[in-house]
Symmetry: C2
Subunit: 225 residues, 2 copies
Amino acid sequence: MEIQLQIKMNEKLFLRNPEQSVLGKKIILHSIQLIHKNGFEDFTFKKLAKEMGSTEAGIYRYFENKHRLLIYLTAWYWSWLEYQVSFQTNNIEDPVVKLKMLIKLLATTVDDDINTSHVDESLLHQIIITEGSKTYLTKHVSEDNKDQLFKPYKDLCAVIGNMILEYNPSYKYPKSLASTIIEMAHFQNFFMNNLPSLTDFGGNKDDLEIVSFLEDLVFSTIDRT
Amino acid sequence: MEIQLQIKMNEKLFLRNPEQSVLGKKIILHSIQLIHKNGFEDFTFKKLAKEMGSTEAGIYRYFENKHRLLIYLTAWYWSWLEYQVSFQTNNIEDPVVKLKMLIKLLATTVDDDINTSHVDESLLHQIIITEGSKTYLTKHVSEDNKDQLFKPYKDLCAVIGNMILEYNPSYKYPKSLASTIIEMAHFQNFFMNNLPSLTDFGGNKDDLEIVSFLEDLVFSTIDRT
DNA sequence: CCTGCAATGATAGTAATACTATCATTGCAG
DNA sequence: CTGCAATGATAGTATTACTATCATTGCAGG
């Protein structure tokens, strides 16, 4: 069985749909590599064009600017992850098992999904850890939010919130706990690898420790009514 | 009693100490106002110079670049906050009371401290919420960390970690929980004001709801051994 | 009182960034 | 085979992120 996974993205995320042309897919492929390599601050459309063997103007036909491209990549990632979550938790009824699966998906290294040829999910995951929050930590969040640019992130958060309520319908802060799980899965990973004294994961750099921390945090919190 | 609070800052944070001259203090004062007003991305030394009635070159004599200035402001804030924490929890023995005080200091609106004339802590607090994590979410974290630029943040995190251990010496993740409290105090605030569907704080926009969420989270987690 | 040096101001200049515009070429849909 | 959309090639502008130079000021120590 060979399938190609296509994620339908909000039209406002781009000027021209990058999934629908060779050039567009090359933009996605190489921007992921370049941002992963040198970070978002250092990333420019000129450098990307050079890397791709195309031109700056060509990229501007797809994305308004590099910030929009980052939002696109992030939105794509959260959509893909929500799909993974629904796939992996399908037919599971026990909310404990579901929540544990979710934490594992959020907090452990992602493998490249062979069903998406132009996206390396493993690299993208690391980009989201470092750059993801920059998509919304701006003065223009509200306008971007009105354009629904953060919908995939909010959708995933809602899914998690519902899992929490399934486990304990009387817990008062399901959405805040959901956003805490998402952000901390990433921040604790970043801290572990870059500022280890902010964590308890020593030198091991093992994803599974983050999973343990998060599981303990989540279930302690929602266990007591 | 009139005191002037002086915070000793790491020499690597600046080229020339801004606390030791009128121009330096003006840089701090106006950069806080400008970053608060238009956000860090839009902020440039040229605009700052114009606002202050000085010149771009003059500012470069104090700070290498705007990112370093942001790190300086952030480091200053965390140092000031650690002082507030030590002041407000002084003579308190009960770790519950201490932790609650800490959460309150982190998560509620800060008043301008009259003991620091050139820093508006209230504005600075809002800057840290939106821009704080950008100081370390870079490709050069490790070098910056070697220069001890994040020491105040790490120190505060250690203080919180110790409070947690005082309450429950067998809790396994005091430092990760500490960094979670700090980050979530800010992120939940940002979400509440800008992406409310990621929280359970509806339209009220009340700091105290964040306090309740964090208290519940922290004490649930460290209550169970 | 003067002198000397550090801090500041004023101005200029450069390379890179973040775009926008124009026109030529190509390739494939009808 | 033709026409139009996508791409390529090139150029140009305003702003950003600096660096350099020289003149001015102001005050600390002799």
